[in-house]
Symmetry: C2
Subunit: 243 residues, 2 copies
DNA sequence: AACATCATTTGATATAAATCAAGGCAATTT
DNA sequence: AAATTGCCTTGATTTATATCAAATGATGTT
């Protein structure tokens, strides 16, 4: 007999997922929500260090992260890794693949993860039937465009300490939106990953951590980061801010 | 009587626009193409130096550039301008506004321009009826995401000369796709704009120009840039490339 | 033509971050 | 418990780019 439900084949319903406010459009009635359950085909488990998809791989699905933490990266011309983003529960990953039907980056699990596999044809099909889903998909993509705009601004203009401050503020904000502490972070990525993402070297990241720590703004112990003075952290990014 | 057609109100048809291969999905029959004419509401003329839209302004429409050249920019925390992109004929501008229903950047015409105004509600409406248009919209957004990924990679990892090489290669490639020379560019933007876009200072851009010029790779005279050695320019970006 | 304005180039110097190198800390293995 | 390994921190030095400053060149104006 075969009663085993392998993680690869579990069928899930968005309608009773506690993350649906993050992945799915809001303001749907229960009936519509049940129809939207069709977007998700299966779930997939990804072990820490494993790839969800890789650069060049055929694009078929978007993935909604249920649990776990990912980084996406591209290869530089000289073969190094450039981290392009970090993604957590409730976020959508794989949008890069739409334009060429091939993924253009690698998605690596920084901790054991579960993702909802959403075949893009399902997404497009249901988008045509549900304007609210269509709008949602557009917003998710637009949000990513705006995020990258501000990343460019940051890497192009800010000093190392400022970049790290922005990075930490963004992380706590996203974690807080998921019910975690506003004052504590357990980093899932290495100093090297952070450095790559912020366009600096790992030693510079380390020094920026110690400087923020010396200033009493944060408390660092390996991958634990305590935000001691949220306001001061914001001031580092924007000294003129009044709030 | 009122026979004047102001530039603000000219109605245009994609079906006989010579740029449609760039803005519109390919492989449409004439009947479908005529229906798609409805996406474009009006045309709008933007004078050099004027804004097509500004940060914070309500988002209602995407814009397809018919003629002219734009830059988009955001403000840094200290009030400086960070250029986030340059757009030319056939490209779509305004995607940043979808996520919050407000534009999150400024779009400034670097030369007199004509744009097709595409109310986003029309785009969404017709996307539901024409899967090929829907797919096209998704691809346009995904392309922008991928472009910004590679910009991050570039700003984070490359030296000034390499960044300028990438920038010039990208420009000629896009201009060539529009029927212009593969070997000559008339820059529409200032050194300062280029510097901001590439995450450097205008003096550094200037020095990078002279260095590439001294190496005999390009020829620079103000805003005219001649590509003397396309291969060498590529080699600067990726010394190991075999083509 | 002389003048003013703006954009660009060039030079000298300062500086933030990269690089090179060593040491420390924590977790895992033997 | 000692040893290995991976990750992070710290220190010394170099380097690419930023900054400051001036000169040059193009464009438009009176």
């Amino acid at each position: 007999m075969n009663l085993e439900l392998t993680p690869e084949t579990i069928k899930v319903a968005c309608s009773n997922c506690n993350l649906r406010e993050l992945c799915m459009p809001v303001g749907l009635d229960f009936v519509d929500m049940q129809k939207l359950d069709e977007v998700v085909a299966t779930r997939r488990h990804v072990k820490q260090g494993d790839l969800l998809f890789r650069d060049g791989e055929e694009f078929k699905s978007l993935f909604a992260i249920r649990t776990g933490f990912f980084k996406t990266s591209v290869a530089t011309p000289d073969g190094l890794e450039q981290v392009t983003g970090f993604q957590m529960a409730g976020e959508i990953i794989g949008l890069d693949g739409i334009v060429t039907d091939k993924h253009s980056c690698n998605a690596i699990a920084l901790e054991d993860a579960d993702v909802c596999v959403m075949p893009f044809s399902n997404v497009e099909q249901l988008s045509r039937e549900f304007p609210v889903l269509q709008r949602h998909v557009h917003k998710v993509m637009s949000r990513e465009i705006v995020r990258e705009n501000s990343m460019m601004m940051m890497i192009g203009n800010m000093r190392s300490e400022e970049r790290l401050a922005v990075f930490l503020l963004n992380l706590v904000q996203r974690l807080h939106a998921r019910g975690f502490s506003q004052a504590e972070i357990i980093l899932r990525m290495s100093r090297e990953d952070i450095a790559s993402y912020l366009g600096m070297k790992l030693e510079t990241v380390s020094r920026a951590f110690t400087r923020l720590s010396d200033e009493g703004v944060i408390e660092v112990k390996q991958r634990y980061v305590g935000i001691l003075n949220h306001k001061a952290l914001k001031k580092i990014v924007n000294p003129n801010a009044c709030d």
